[in-house]
């Protein structure tokens, strides 16, 4: 009996140690964000943000480069979310409500496309954007992002569309609504949670994306937030860095993501592992 108790205690300890290890970088980011340059320059790290201040945050928010990158990131993200939802919604409707020739190939193509690495495409995308004059352009980047998220968005939405019983729509049509009316009044409201989840997925992808932005947003004026953060990393290679400010900047970029992510995580991962886990 004592042996099992001891074993359980050790396992609990292990779980807590692992939890600390995985949470530590996130904690370290927030902790350092509150500390000033002098504290962070000391050879001994400061593990608790006592005596810290919001100075780093005010400096970062006051930096015009941050404001510019924020506006660009927000515009690209919003255009991507709106376009991806509109396009993917129609696509999801097609594959979950209709059986048509080529449907299986269409779904297969979507799933394969969703796996294509941006790194295998970005040089060609750069050339394409430069030939049509859309380098450093919000719409140009949003077009590339929309194409990248549409396949998985359709895949996520498909389940929600299929989940709305078609009988409900038909009953409404018997009651005298047209097909469009029945759809708008009955089906659409039931789809709202699915649209929110897929919208958040598209938001996270566009907000966090680094690779494609690096290639097509070549000018400093056109940097998205991840590219702006990269500027700090590049600078740190050659000179003393004010890590408190970098961490404050990172915290500001990460917080909306962490909040949104926690909202939709379960739906996104069930889309990825599919039938292997029945949740």
């Amino acid at each position: 009996m004592r042996a099992t108790k001891l074993r359980r205690g050790l396992l609990t300890l292990l779980a807590v140690v692992l939890a600390l290890a995985w949470a530590f970088p996130v904690y370290w980011m927030v902790n350092s964000a509150f500390l000033d340059k002098a504290t962070l320059s000391s050879t001994k790290p400061t593990f608790l943000p006592f005596g810290g201040s919001l100075d780093n945050f005010t400096t970062v928010i006051g930096d015009p480069a941050f404001g510019r990158a924020l506006v660009i990131s927000l515009s690209v993200t919003l255009v991507t979310v709106a376009a991806a939802l509109a396009i993917a919604f129609l696509g999801a409707l097609a594959i979950s409500r209709f059986r048509f020739r080529g449907r299986a190939s269409f779904v297969l193509a979507l799933l394969l496309i969703q796996m294509l690495p941006a790194e295998g495409l970005f040089i060609a995308q750069y050339k394409m954007m430069s030939s049509v004059g859309l380098l450093n352009n919000v719409i140009g980047l949003a077009v590339l992002y929309t194409a990248a998220v549409v396949p998985f968005t359709i895949w996520m939405l498909r389940g929600f569309v299929a989940g709305v019983p078609i009988d409900l729509e038909e009953a409404a049509m018997v009651d005298g609504l047209s097909r469009t009316q029945a759809f708008l009044r009955i089906t659409f409201p039931l789809l709202a949670p699915g649209l929110v989840a897929s919208g958040v997925y598209a938001f996270l992808q566009a907000w966090n994306e680094f690779t494609v932005a690096l290639v097509v947003m070549t000018e400093e004026q056109a940097r998205t937030l991840p590219l702006w953060l990269r500027g700090f990393i590049q600078a740190s290679a050659t000179r003393e860095t004010d890590w408190g400010q970098v961490m404050a900047a990172s915290t500001l970029v990460a917080i909306p993501v962490i909040v949104f992510f926690l909202l939709v995580q379960s739906r996104m991962s069930s889309g990825l592992v599919g039938g292997a886990v029945k949740g």
Binding site: V26, G120, L121, T211, L225, S269, G274, V277
Partner: protein, 297 residues
Amino acid sequence: MSSASSSRRVPLALIIPTLLILLVALGYPIGWQVITSFQHYGMLQQFGQAPEWVGLDNYTALFTDGYLWVVIARSIVFCLVCAGGTVAIGGGMALLMRAVSTPARLILQVALLVAWAMPVVTSMTVWIWIVDWRRGVLNWLLTRLGGDFQGHNWLVEPLSFFAVAAVIVIWMSVPFVALSIYAGLTQVSPEVLEAAQIDGATGWQRLRHIILPLIAPVVSIVLLLQLIWDLRVFTQIKLLQDAGGFANETNLLGTYIYQLGTGAGDFGAAAAVSVIMLALTVAMSWYYVRSLMKEES
């Protein structure tokens, strides 16, 4: 309008926007890339000179140049280490979550979710700060533990560069794997395990003969996804190079393409490496996509 013809036209109309955006943003670049990979397309072509057809020259040049093989070998080793490490640690954590009390499990789950939620570039800024050679907390800790790591630069040596990169990649990937396998484990019925225990099966036997076969599908899917994702790893390597690593000694496929294209302006070669990378990904994704399709129909 007959309903048969309308029911054929409606779904096609619905997928037209999807087809259009995919053709414009992905189809055209892929086509361009395949064509360019058979052309000489360098700096002169950047300024308007027509590219010249060279057949398989780009491919033969790459495959006879030892550097591509070095990059491919590095990418494969890095991919195997990261994917293997991630699935081993993630699987271990999933089993651990089953064994411990609910509060301990919740603490671990929350920590994993928060780490998972971090945007990749912010994770990189924090990790680069942690391993910073001047004042990073890692060097402080190792020195406290008795090593001499004051001022040790982790990014200069290729081997320690990749060790840092692998730790970061594994840290980022473990949450998805651990939580997915744990979700699979919750499907294993406690009654079956209890019956096996009464029949005298040891913990190891229960794991080997009951639990593992039941979670094999989810483990194989997450392993495959990790292999695909870790083969294309770019952001982590690029940013560690920016932070002080030497690009030539640390390039993987993604950063090599980037360097060929935007750095050297050799678009023909960059396109050829991209085509190789796309082909590898499609081949590796095939099984995964088939398994998703099966469940779909």
